[in-house]
Amino acid sequence: MFNSGEILETINMVRKEHLDVRTLTMGISLLDCVRGTTEETVDRIKFKIGDYAKDLVKTASDLQCEFGIPIVNKRISVTPVSLLGGGRLDYVKLARAIDEIGRDLGVDFVGGYTALVHKGMTDFERKFIATIPEVLSTTSNLCSSVNIGSTKSGINMEAVAMMGRVVKECAKLTADRGSIACAKLVVFCNAVEDNPFMAGAFHGLGEGEKVINVGVSGPGVVHSAIKDLPNATFDELAEIIKKTAFKITRVGQLMARLASERTGADFGVVDLSLAPTPVRGDSVAHVLESMGIETVGGPGTTAALAMLNDAVKKGGLMASSSVGGLSGAFIPVSEDIGMIEAARSGVLGLEKLEAMTAVCSVGLDMIAVPGSTSADTISGIIADEAAIGMVNNKTTAVRIIPVEGKETGEVEFGGLLGEAPIMKVSKVDNSVFVARGGKIPAPLHSLKN
């Protein structure tokens, strides 16, 4: 039997501190769906996703009802679409079919319009990447990602240059909707195969047929645990965060186990990321501020984030039989009320954000910049972020929105994507750097100093 203190603690985490399971994501392999024509392949894909994920939304709703833990998003990730058919099939038609079946099933997002070009690019991958702007501007829930670098293979600078132009094109094609297509596109270094979070989820080639991955949340719970402890040392704070992360992760573990049993899927991973939402009381920035920094972005922020990220992982690891995905604190600007306010006040700039990404998951995420920002500037930002990931052996990503037609002010994306102040970007010319192409070689794995 549980004592009333334990029961009330759990109830308060949900009622007051926004504890939720952020996403229940089903990964589905589409490798066996390839047929001789696009039409036959589309039929097979629709049938397979429709069959495998038919109970996903209902399962999430049942679990939410039985356990009283909100499951905010239901998502599907699929095999990187660029690999289907080796360029013989019409990628845009495949994309629309996947988007349509996702909508029919009632899921929030489908991820996997993805290319993995970290070492080199085939002709069909070039063709695929060129379709991303059209696809993201004409579909609603489909998300795209491109992996342009890795610690083992270096950074593909041809792909980096290309992605700067793709991001700009996405912004232009959805100029009437706040350049929303850019919010559905992530450029990765060291992308992971089992990430349940969007926009970067895809079902990796090392994965099985049908897998459930769960992303938990809980910045509000961590904030509440440490906010009234001005005299606690960092060791003490780290201990409290570990214990809190343990409890949050156990919820994710239970939901993931039951969801995989009920949908007949393999249990994949629990992603330990602290994922914020734009709601007040659900902010990673506020966790950092509660460590004693007036506004996130001020001196000490990077160290506070490093400690938080590490403690969350240490606490979460023991709570789950299988941990993976991105697993770290997210610092998206538009999706976190504390980050929005810090960026609005000018305390938090792109440079500090870049430093923060060196110690946490995942990268420059949901950053709105002026519409006049050039493709070369975006490529430069992508290259810098990829270099941090490559050298530090971690995932980094860029999800940046050059808001077409806007230079200052704010842009609103709605829902979990939130709203973002447009941040200042350096206008230094880097066109020669971007035009070089080739590869930045993989870093040394020894002589580390």
């Binding site: 039997m1 549980f2 009333s4 334990e6 759990t10 049942d62 039985e66 156990r250 573990q253």
Partner: protein, 89 residues
Amino acid sequence: MKKAIVSVIGKDKKGIIARVCMELYNLNINIADITQTVMQEYFTMIMMVELEEDQVFAEVSSALKKLGEEIGVSISIQHEDIFGAMHRI
């Protein structure tokens, strides 16, 4: 037998226990244990209850939620496993 925790939280007033217990009786749910306190004017009751295997959580949950709205308190029911996961290693 499925074990669950019913929690009732709200401003204290007459008849909360009576109404909740009657509703559980009507739903054919056994009450195994009750603890109740009043904290800062807020009435907090936690009940350990037992549902038959074939009882549907969603129906019980919506009946309790409706009752909560009628009497002006928040009533929720959660499978006990969530508390076990969080508080027991």
